[in-house]
Symmetry: C2
Subunit: 439 residues, 2 copies
């Protein structure tokens, strides 16, 4: 971080506001003295910062914490989760999920749109559906501070342009722009018209696995670790990396496509145009084929075929055991390469690899022993957040600008709304929607 | 960066000192107004910071710059390169180089120690040789602010512990500690006794390719790029990565072992214990073997065998051309995987790949076209710094603490020397050594 000219005191104050808000957002309620310890700021500075965050509507103080403290009890501080929220959107192959999420990662309301299996959906149509659901979910008392979108595709970070999303049949879709345009248009709601977001609210789009690692890092199995590899095994291998505490994005936001490491140049053809990419050797399709479930991916299949093979492997079925060993071996081969490249302190396995962690673990560890150069300090753990990790990561992405500069963002947002107020009629309270998780 | 408690103004001042000194160190002399532009600090702040850096002995001001400026001419500021220096050490397979380097990257004196080819040298013996050479190189007027050591091996960043350096026959060598202990012992010099470094001078050790990328990023082909892959092709593939402007170190400093990506699981046995690692498929030995120069690595071979094959390929010799194509193809395969993982904006090719860039380039680009997922924004360029890049990187590593906090480091160093002065007799001027590049 560089302290900018002319406003050095101001920059320090804004930076410290960010540090304190981020602590409360990630760690949950803390006493003022815990905040002082965690941030290395003194108690009087903390008191002033908490008061400022309070007047911005971001935190509230409550009764003092008496748990085993000596001396003066220290007031508890917590984020206010209800009013300033973000919109988190996950665009998966078969469904889209939209949620409103408050500070602290609290999901206020969530709704799922099922997509017809295998049918390509047009981006504009999908984005309109997202808008309609979002308009229902957001309460009039809530202000959307940001929009985060997770998508199975290769995304340019700068503007959310989706270079390619093969499983959706999308190429060169300006998704960030489409979402922003759609959500900014005022539409009819009960008692008036209303846009879902204001004109300056950022819309950020990223790859779903990149957001999976963000979520696991913020609230899951990688909390407190600064160098993390995250692999999510499905048909493809989704990957995300945290380097020195930050999400690896690369020059354009395309980084983290771990599934396309070339591990076997004479291997199977991959959807990317290459051959023997990691995901063709260690992905779900190969696992099922090796286990004799070649046809198991048809949607009419009643049970989860992966769960079926995993259960068979656990029961000692020889073909299922061999399939798990072979996929585990390929998983280990690619992972050894990445351990050599990144020297992570933790590897988080999600998707199929997380759900059936104990079935794959031995084979992976065996390969790591011979192929990883570094001393065996790296820890393999299953993902903690399950299938919602990308949605949670999308919310974290959307909160990022607010967390980085609470004062700057709220001041800008207030003046933007003042300017836009005359052009809109504010709605009366919207009806409550189904799918809400929390009132 | 987190601004620490209690001393916020002080933290900002120290941070800004760092920003200004780093600019001058990397960009060379700048006028005060250029400094203001580059740092976003205003002219009066720059004036005060330059005065402070001047009083610390780090920079000097000279005549105003009249080049096409309007209004008041702006004084030129430059680093003082002569007095505060670092010791840069490169431990390669056949030789060790020791140099004194000033701010701005100026090499003041340099000396090379040849090692017997193929003979394992004991760490303690080698470190004593380094000490003797260093004692000769450092002038009594110079103060060593840091020591940076580049080594062909897997190094723990924290304390410079060399986990393994196969080409030196070393394993589990506490190199950082050995160097620090040896350089801190006062030894006889003309007119008295003197230690090469003071008791608190940091000794930092890193892998030579990691320092190669640091050097190319600071002063070479990757200057100004924040996401860089560096590959140096020799017998192995040395690798280094810059992510978001910072060197990728990983959890322990072992990151960047790009040569051991598994690209061909049925390929040749690799020195690491694996099989078909990238460097076994795209390294120097394979290149020479494919070109029919299996025996060319004997030391008595008069000419550089790689140069010989490269010249043959350029002259159209079919076997040499095929060898270059095959190695280029494997280089491209691994590189495509890494481009998918890192999304770099620049790939810098050093060693054999840099020297014979035009012989390999076409094959590499061809593979990248089919295997890299991202749009073709990545640029391949040959390294700019040549064989001295690791030494230059070692100097940058050694300067890092001073550049990060000039005031803090110099204050600590002065008080340490005041404390130690009574225990030492300062030497009279040492005789000038051979090998000096600059007086």
């Amino acid at each position: 971080m560089r302290i900018e000219q002319g406003s050095t005191h101001e920059a320090v104050r804004r930076h410290n506001l960010s540090v304190v808000l981020r602590q409360l957002h990630l760690a949950g309620p803390l006493s003022r003295s815990e905040l002082a310890m965690r941030t290395d700021l003194n108690r009087s500075t903390i008191k002033a910062l908490v008061a400022q965050l309070g007047s911005l509507g971001l935190v509230r103080e409550s009764d003092a914490d008496h748990r085993g403290t000596r001396g003066r009890p220290s007031p508890m501080v917590a984020v206010r989760s209800g009013r300033l929220v973000v919109l988190a959107v996950e665009i998966a192959v078969d469904f889209v999920t939209v949620a409103t999420v408050g500070l602290g990662g609290r999901i206020h309301a969530e709704q799922r749109i099922d997509l017809a299996h295998g049918a390509a959906v047009r981006p504009a149509v999908l984005v309109r559906q997202v808008r309609d659901v979002a308009a229902e979910l957001v309460r009039p008392s809530q202000v959307i501070m940001g929009v985060g979108v997770a998508i199975v595709g290769l995304v340019r970070g700068e503007d959310g342009f989706v270079h390619i999303a093969p499983n959706l049949g999308w190429a060169d879709v300006p998704l960030g722009q489409l979402v922003a345009d759609e959500l900014r248009v005022p539409t009819a709601v009960a008692g008036g018209s209303r846009a879902v977001i204001g004109p300056d609210v950022p819309v950020l789009v990223a790859n779903e696995a990149d957001l999976g690692v963000l979520a696991e890092h913020a609230r899951g199995a990688a909390q407190g670790f600064d160098n993390v590899l995250y692999l999510s095994g499905e048909v493809g291998i989704g990957g995300g990396v945290v380097v020195g505490g930050r999400r690896l994005t690369g020059a354009n936001g395309y980084a983290g496509e771990l599934g396309h490491l070339p591990v076997n140049p004479d291997g199977r053809a991959c959807g990317c145009g290459g051959r023997g990419c990691w995901e063709t050797e260690a992905g779900k399709r190969t696992f099922l084929r090796l286990a004799g479930h070649e046809q198991s991916e048809r949607p009419e299949q009643p049970t989860d075929p992966v769960a079926h093979v995993v259960a068979a492997a656990k029961a000692g079925d020889p073909q299922a055991v061999r399939a798990a060993e072979e996929v585990g071996r390929w998983l280990g081969i690619g992972l050894a390469g990445l351990v050599n490249v990144f020297d992570p302190d933790r590897v988080v396995l999600g998707g199929m690899y997380g759900r059936a962690f104990d079935v794959f673990e031995a084979a992976v560890v065996e390969v790591l022993k011979t192929r990883a150069l570094t001393p065996p300090t790296v820890e393999l753990v299953p993902a903690a957040l399950g299938p919602e990790s990308s949605l949670i990561g999308a919310a974290e992405l959307a909160f990022e600008p607010l967390l980085a500069d609470p004062d700057g963002v709220l001041t800008a947002s207030l003046s933007a709304r003042d300017g836009a107020a005359s052009a809109r009629v504010e709605s009366s309270p919207a009806p409550r929607t189904k799918g809400k998780r929390d009132g």
